[in-house]
Symmetry: C2
Subunit: 200 residues, 2 copies
């Protein structure tokens, strides 16, 4: 049994969205599955001393130009949402609550959330928005709403973020294939070549 590809991303990362659109098909081409891990870049940046891209002088302007250009290059629909960036705590907590019950449904929820944010341009920051999308996935939103305020789910997400940092995750998207880390949606070709060849 081949190991799953670990996929780390923040819902508020456009490059993470691009990675999310591509990684399942890429993995399937090589007989792999994907283990999705939404994280919060905030605590990662606290560790690494970085900050959200779009607020940075020079890099911010480049990123805002590069996001849609990269999406067009990959033939993926994309609009930079407004407001952006947003808090993604509710989305990530909801993901793990669902994942612990039905991993496939959690990925479906993540994809619908990303589509709403980057294709429809609608905010997914508030718990209400997350619950609305969860409802469309057939998730028990009464139980989910209650869970979102529960300390257990806060701890669950914190554990995931701490675990990602411990594995060296330094940005979004970040992939780990058989222990080998790849950072960035622009490294997917290398990641695929790694799967093909077993590494170099």
């Amino acid at each position: 049994m081949k190991q799953a590809i670990e996929f780390y991303f923040d819902f508020s990362s456009p490059y993470g969205y691009l990675g999310a659109c591509l990684i399942d098909d890429l993995a399937a081409r090589h007989g792999r599955t994907v283990d999705w891990h939404p994280i919060l870049l905030g605590p990662v940046f606290q560790q690494s001393g970085n900050a959200p891209l779009v607020g940075q002088p020079l890099k911010g302007a480049y990123a805002v130009r590069d996001f849609p250009r990269m999406a067009r290059y990959l033939n993926i629909p994309f609009t930079l949402p407004d407001p952006f960036p947003i808090a993604t705590v509710a989305a990530a907590r909801a993901f793990y609550w669902v994942k612990d019950r039905d991993p496939e449904q959690a990925v479906q929820l993540a994809k619908k959330l990303l589509n709403r944010f980057y294709v429809e341009g609608r905010d997914i920051g508030a718990a209400e928005a997350v619950l609305e999308v969860a409802q469309q996935c057939g998730i028990d939103t009464v139980a989910l709403q209650a869970a979102l305020g529960d300390p257990a789910i806060k701890a669950r997400l914190k554990e995931e973020v701490d675990g990602a940092i411990a594995k060296g995750v330094c940005g979004s998207p970040f992939f780990i294939v058989d222990g080998e880390p790849f950072w960035g949606s622009d490294r997917l070709q290398q990641l695929e070549d790694w799967l093909k060849t077993g590494g170099w």
Copy 2:
């Protein structure tokens, strides 16, 4: 007459070195020339709020693993030099002094400096090291040595760095093709596709 590809890099940037190994041939495949611009990442980072990669928590560890992996992927000889990073003021100043007299010889000097640093693993920070390599290129090292202490060459390099920042250069390597910016040696495929197609 097609515009030259503008190529910005810091001598102390491994990704810049990888770009330097590839950009001339890439440009030639599309009837382009390359205008080499060594810069100093220090002032760029002061503007953008960034810091050298290898000193950063998380990102530093990833970079140190990624540099040689990326080089092997591209089939380019590479060793992370020690000490690293280094000051590259002397190398960059020497480059522009030579460039103003003989642009091709300046590129030859740059390539030899990069080779000494990343292939032979020998420091190129000190003026003496730069002069030694310049001598191998047949450059008048007596005149160059005198020029390196001249305020004119300090001003020349400052102008280049300020000009790069004004154009949005936020890292190394950074390429501009017909006004379109590409950052990173991992974007060379996109840059080449841009040259082929005229953009998307």
